[in-house]
Amino acid sequence: MQQLTEIRWHARAGQGAVTAAKVVAETALSADQYMQAMPEYGPERMGAPIKAFTRISDQPIDIHCNIENPSVVIVLDDTLLDVIDVTEGIVADGVVILNTCTPPEQVKQRLGLPESVKVACVDASGIALDTIKRDIPNTPIVGAFAKVTGLIDLDIFKGLLAKNLSKKFGQEMIDANFAAVDRAHEEVTVA
């Protein structure tokens, strides 16, 4: 069977999950991997819960359906824990990465996860407010994702992020995003 990593993103519309999923996919391509990134399209409005999916593999990917058994779950808004079972179907040695101020031990207990599932927490919103000056936690969370999973090369990601941002923003915004990614990479804690 092919070596396939399946990532599920949970966020609220407007938090940039789709953009993050896209840049992660581009990063994987730059490392000559195969990938898919697809948002679950629905009648979206700002703040509504959304899902997005990313697949990364060394081999061409055949599957075209939603991800039910993710090995990585990324949650961009911890208030979603009250409304959605974000860890539904997660594999036994999976990892959950959350944007939250709560320590990972507490989150793990609250979600009732087995010891084998890793929980990684980072205050991506706080970092984004400090650096980017807006609550856009999508880029910092990728810094944490790169550290915890080792699935993507952070330098390649930052290069592509700069390329994407430069279409709409100046160097100041690119630098602020780089600072956010680096801080989250540094500050993420795991239980």
Binding site: Q36, M38, D62, H64, C65
Partner: protein, 395 residues
């Protein structure tokens, strides 16, 4: 030598890219989900001055196809794109395009038809157009959507064919997912499709012709239709030839029907579009467990590749046909009806069963495909009889 660029982008954006590389003289289109980003991207090419195309913004799909017909009859290379209700609104024009033998190429982002309203994938729109005289290709992936679009243009414009062609891709699943795709350089595509030399251009004043004229009682209507039938029958060889030439360039396979693990397969799934990938994934799992499972993907639906399908399926012990479209009141879905009919001449006919799946974007979980193979296995072992039509995974 063809240059190749590997990109991470969506099915719709590479269809727009293929259109740009085919250099159409006219694109007349109306936006509709999930096709919108194709025509949006194309409009951007026009605004940037990257194409010479006359881009006609119209007030409906009926007008879009009407404008395409007018432009094509005038002698232009014409392309467009639509989906679902848009394709349905074009219905009468679809017949006119094929009856006037106009090689228009249209992308269709497969989407369910209302009601109830739904923006997600099924093949009901394209299947509704199966008898309109268009060549119809379906893509499994964004890569195939790019490839098929270029292939469609060369097939449509072939002097042996001169028929419109539809290049279909699964709504959202293929249109909006980001995938790894190889694109040719512009020159390679331009050389492959060649310059268009219209056969009967209205604007060719040196040899005046009429198009779409009256052919009523006692007129040649019947013979026109026979000529159309002969043309779409001939198009089969042309699709094969053009596909093979494209395959030579790309290194990617092209078949009217594409088989996986069918050489010694007992259990076969016949399927169209992105679900072929899901079926292949599960068939590999089955193989790992010692079950001889295989997949037959129908890439070209019109002309229907009857002989190729029979050749792929003849040794299977049981066949499941998966339809992402209904043919209400018929024995089963459109692909099932034609597959079953194709197998009629076999000396020993195997059981053939039908599943309707994935309507309105209903997720095609791998579990559902496993269920199909399991049902086939039960039929072969004699522990179950072939069932009637099954709505796969419906609550």
């Amino acid at each position: 030598m063809a240059e190749v660029k590997t990109v991470a982008t969506t099915g719709n954006l590479v269809v727009a890219e293929a259109m740009r590389q085919c250099k159409p003289d006219v694109v007349a289109a109306y936006p509709i989900t999930p096709q919108t980003t194709i025509v949006e991207e194309y409009a951007k090419f026009v605004a940037q001055g990257r194409v010479h195309t006359e881009y006609v913004t119209v007030e409906s799909e009926h007008s879009a196809m009407s404008a395409c017909i007018g432009a094509s009859a005038a002698g232009a290379r014409v392309m467009t794109a639509t989906a679902s209700q848009g394709l349905a609104l074009m219905w009468e024009e679809l017949h006119i395009a094929s009856g006037m033998r106009l090689p228009i190429v249209m992308a269709n982002a497969n989407r369910a038809l209302s009601a109830p309203i739904n923006i997600h994938c099924d093949h009901g729109d394209a299947m509704g157009a199966r008898d309109t005289g268009w060549v119809i290709l379906f893509a499994e992936t964004a890569q195939e959507a790019y490839d098929n679009t270029i292939i469609c243009l060369k097939v449509a414009e072939d002097p042996e064919v001169l028929l419109p062609a539809m290049t279909c891709l699964d709504g959202f699943i293929t249109t909006h997912s980001i995938d790894r795709i190889e694109l040719f350089d512009d020159e390679t595509v331009a050389d492959f499709v060649g310059e268009y030399e219209p056969a009967n251009a209205l604007l060719d004043t040196d040899s005046p012709v009429s198009h779409g004229c009256f052919a009523g009682l006692g007129g040649p209507f019947f013979e026109f239709k026979k000529a159309q039938r002969l043309a779409i029958d001939r198009s089969k060889g042309v699709v094969e030839r053009v596909g093979a030439a494209f395959s030579e360039l790309s290194g990617r396979p092209f078949g009217l029907v594409e088989s996986d693990m069918m050489d010694d397969a007992d259990l076969a799934i016949v399927v169209i579009g992105s679900t072929a990938g899901n079926a292949r994934h599960v068939a590999k799992e089955m193989r790992a467990q010692g079950v001889k499972a295989g997949v037959v993907k129908v890439r070209c639906f019109r002309p229907f590749p009857q002989a190729e399908l029979v050749a792929a399926l003849k040794d299977a012990k049981a066949v499941a046909v998966l339809d992402r479209a209904e043919s209400f009141g018929a024995e089963g879905g459109p692909l099932y009806l034609e597959t079953r009919s194709a197998l009629y001449d076999l000396e020993t006919r195997m059981p053939v069963v039908n599943y309707i799946y994935g309507l309105g974007g209903s997720d095609v979980r791998l579990e559902l495909i496993r269920q199909v193979y399991s049902d086939l296995s039960d039929i072969v072992s004699g522990s179950a009889s072939p069932s009637g039509l099954v709505y796969l995974g419906a609550r």
